[in-house]
Subunit: 222 residues, 2 copies
DNA sequence: GTCTATAGATGGATAGAC
DNA sequence: GTCTATCCATCTATAGAC
């Protein structure tokens, strides 16, 4: 806590921590509201009201609503892809440079599915990332379209693990797996739970990782 | 063509066909713009400009922008689910009431993937349907959440075809297959084509149906 | 039925006081 | 840095002339 110097009592105090605090409050409120309600439906007014700060904060700290969106997007996708890359790297080391299909899929699927756990603190971030695929700004969609470097490693690993498959088969199957992941939205879970009459109310997320890896691996091994 | 009666030349003519034509122009323009640019980004002004009709047409013919959206949604999802139900019904008849997993998956996957063919006239409708999953109005999302009757038949057929599986396994795998389908968006194809450097530029949509059914069937049979 | 004009609401952004 | 007040653009919806 930085207490203002009494000698400065009549000067407007500048508190670096409260500055960072406001920025973080805006960031967190925006991520949460966007994740739950969608990008276009949430206004700057909604965000600042939720964060308990003044209306001008978004523009002061981030420049614009779109720039705020882009910063959240960049930070969260970087975190997710780092987590995936680390696991893939470990699997590569463990298997003398040639990880099997299952280990590759675990590195791809594991992090985002573990983020679904409501007991963790990542659920909102994952929902935000999923939403940005369909509702993002032009800048975000351009980034998604052109920046495939993190997927490059997974595609190459899968191509090496299944050299007898035609490369286009590998790419298409990777696309199918990504589809499985992108479908893990609040609304789709609700629908699944309605259909299954509560049978799929999942609380064991390691179990869900295993379900998804099992399903995806079968598709790659046939 | 209904020609106006010359006796009515000084009375404002009412042409039922031009009325229907305006309505259809609005419907088609709205579906196309929503499918390509998203629901919130397209204004009533965009729609009427694209259709070449006056600004008031949307409210006159449909009541509101949201009602127009809902009507497009209802019509297209009904068409898609009818096509799926018909194929499932045929497969059920053909297999004495007990279609195998592969036939069930073909009925689920075939219609929406055939709609992807740009040589057909369904691509826009499918993109609209996919978008409504994440960007729809509250009414549309409520319909998606609660109306699972069309999926009910597919879930029951799959449960019957794999009685040795725990029901929740069947439901989760159905969820994975739906994820594969929902990922067939313009933007995701672009990304896949970037990653594969053009290898996946698909023109054979029956081939794509087979790819997807192969992948999904493997996941159900393991 | 069509169209123009506009009402009425809401949004992002910013100037200027403190 | 914070906050209020406000500008200005844009949207949906509708009234009223034709």
């Amino acid at each position: 806590m930085t207490e203002p110097d009494p000698a400065d009592a009549d000067i407007e105090e500048v508190n670096p921590e409260s500055q960072a605090a406001t920025r973080n409050l805006v960031f967190a409120a925006a991520e949460r509201l966007f994740a739950v309600h969608g990008f276009q439906k949430v206004s700057v007014r909604d965000i600042t009201a939720e964060a308990g700060v003044n209306l001008a904060s978004v523009n002061y700290h981030f420049g614009s609503k779109d720039a705020l969106l882009l910063e959240i997007f960049r930070r969260r996708t970087a975190e997710l892809n780092r987590a995936r890359a680390r696991i893939l790297h470990e699997a590569t080391d463990k298997h003398q440079g040639h990880p099997p299909v299952r280990a590759i899929l675990e590195a791809l699927i594991g992090p985002p599915v573990r983020w679904l756990d409501p007991n963790g603190e990542r659920l909102i971030s994952l929902q935000f990332i999923i939403r940005s695929r369909s509702e993002g700004t032009e800048e975000m969609r351009a980034a998604l379209r052109h920046d495939v470097s993190h997927l490059r490693r997974f595609a190459d690993a899968l191509l090496a693990a299944r050299p007898e498959l035609a490369p286009e088969d590998v790419y298409w199957r990777l696309h199918f797996v990504l589809g499985m992941l992108h479908n893990n939205r609040f609304a789709e879970f609700d629908r699944l739970h309605t259909l299954s009459e509560g049978l799929t109310r999942e609380e064991d997320f390691e179990g869900l990782v295993k379900r998804m890896v099992d399903f995806a691996e079968a598709g790659f091994l046939r």
